[in-house]
């Protein structure tokens, strides 16, 4: 279980995270949604160690991980992708995925090769394994970024908005891919984003963030019929009461 307790993070006078208490279960999918600036990505940054929180605690299976550097957290099973995908552009696709496995604490050479192969096949990028990542299109870059994060055999993977700018058909196939990944790799998958269509297709519990803290948790149907959330997204006049 991954638990945050009373996380605060300020940027100057702006509080990006205000007293965030949230729990992530060991298996399954959860979606985190919320308007731009609600603190979703900041939360991912703090949990993975890319940013240091101002106060609060992060617990993984009862162990405090606040003071661990990012490279130690991934060895404990916390992995992530980026909203704007960031593969290593001078390395090949294969090398990108391999790095994810190579430095995640697994020293079994054969397993590293097997993981790399399996992930490339799962994501359908085996055919471009020799290509330099800097020369890929956006869609391929997203998959390589995801592959690198998956190759570390994460227990918790944070996928930061993969659905932006996709057509409806693409959203459906992406949601299928995400569900398939979660089932085959058996981890806790946290999807962070604001493409509602995708969140609906995931058929998972949803946590709604607003102004730096989670304000609601429930199923997708509960979320879209909740007045507070409708006000948050669409303004007062769309709420029923």
């Amino acid at each position: 279980m991954l638990v945050t307790k009373g996380i605060w993070k300020n940027f100057g006078k702006l509080s990006a995270l205000k007293d965030v208490n949230i729990e992530f279960k060991e298996k399954g999918i959860i979606a985190i949604i919320g308007p731009n600036g609600a603190g979703k990505t900041t939360l991912v940054n703090v949990i993975t160690g890319a940013l240091r929180e101002d106060s609060g605690k992060i617990n993984l299976d009862g162990k405090e991980i606040n003071r661990l550097p990012p490279h130690a957290r991934i060895r404990m099973g916390i992995s992530r992708t980026f909203q704007i995908p960031r593969p290593f552009s001078n390395l090949t696709v294969l090398e990108n995925i391999r790095i994810g496995s190579l430095f995640s604490g697994n020293s079994n050479k054969r397993e590293i090769e097997e993981d790399t192969e399996r992930i490339m096949k799962l994501l359908g990028i085996k055919s471009i394994e020799g290509k330099q990542a800097g020369k890929l299109n956006t869609e391929e870059r997203r998959l390589v970024d995801l592959g690198r994060a998956l190759a570390s055999r994460p227990k918790y993977i944070f996928i930061d908005e993969m659905g932006a700018g996709l057509a409806e058909g693409e959203v459906i196939s992406l949601s299928k891919l995400i569900k398939k990944i979660q089932i085959e790799e058996e981890m806790s998958l946290i999807y962070v984003g604001h493409v509602m269509k995708l969140v609906k297709e995931l058929e998972s519990p949803v946590a709604v963030f607003s102004e730096g803290s989670p304000i609601f948790q429930g199923s997708f149907e509960e979320v879209i019929s909740n007045d507070e959330i409708i006000k948050l997204y669409l303004g007062d006049r769309y709420a029923k009461n």
Partner: protein, 308 residues
Amino acid sequence: MKFNRNLKSFLILLAVLIVFYAAGPQFYSNGAFFETLAVFMILSLSFNLIYGFTGYLPFGYAAFFAIGAYGFGIGIIRNFGLVQSILMGGLFSLALGLIFSPMLKLRGAYFAIANLAAFEGVYYIISNQSLASITRGPYGISTSSVYNFQQTYWVSIGVLIFVVILTYLFRISNFGLALKAIRDDPLVASLSGINVGLYRSIAWLTSALFAGFSGAMFGWFLSFFYPESVFSINYSLFAIVFTIFGGAGTLIGPILGTGFLYTIYYSVGLFYPLYFTLIFGVLVILLILFLPEGLKKIISKYLKWEML
């Protein structure tokens, strides 16, 4: 398959280097040229370990070269013995690398400038009159008691071969792969499990150590040198220009770059001493303008071969 091809290129390269340095002086009896060529090949390859693999550009890199010569010289005048003095050259430089390592927190131009300033600082310390009892200050150091050209020459070739092997290991290992990842994106590298600070420091210190050895070889060869003879920003420029011209981050690049440009540099100095700086300066400007990625780019574009 790919590994075997790399191994083959590597073995051919080693053989070519050994034959070149063994047979070269038979055809062109200018030992000083071959010795200094070997010294600058070691320097470029060491520089490549930090610049080529991590992207840090140390403008004051000559400080490692100079402190290596001084470590060697101080060992000799204190009668520590030849081998010990050579090791001292490397260790002095390694220690300087450790002292400089907080600079790795700086990026880009800030790092380059801080490094240049540190170079000047080390120069003033070494050339300071009040430290003359240790460094001989401005009066210079004589290592003529151990002068033996043949010995210097073959030890230099030995060090060169060692650095070539080391660079090859950097090139093909997971460690080298991690360094390339760090150069591309340090944050993502760290979020992929790579201990960025540790890996960078290892590259930096290895680089400093071997630059120190190249300086020790140079001091041994000169047999008498002033602070100005080794603390010259020219040696930073040599390492930077030779490496970039050949292809930073590769094994063959710095060797080709040094071989090609240092030969031109040496001939211009020999035949047109008056126009020497002018000609070399113009050449460097042209290279940076038209060949910023060096021979590596040309070879991969026209010969379809990714340089080892």
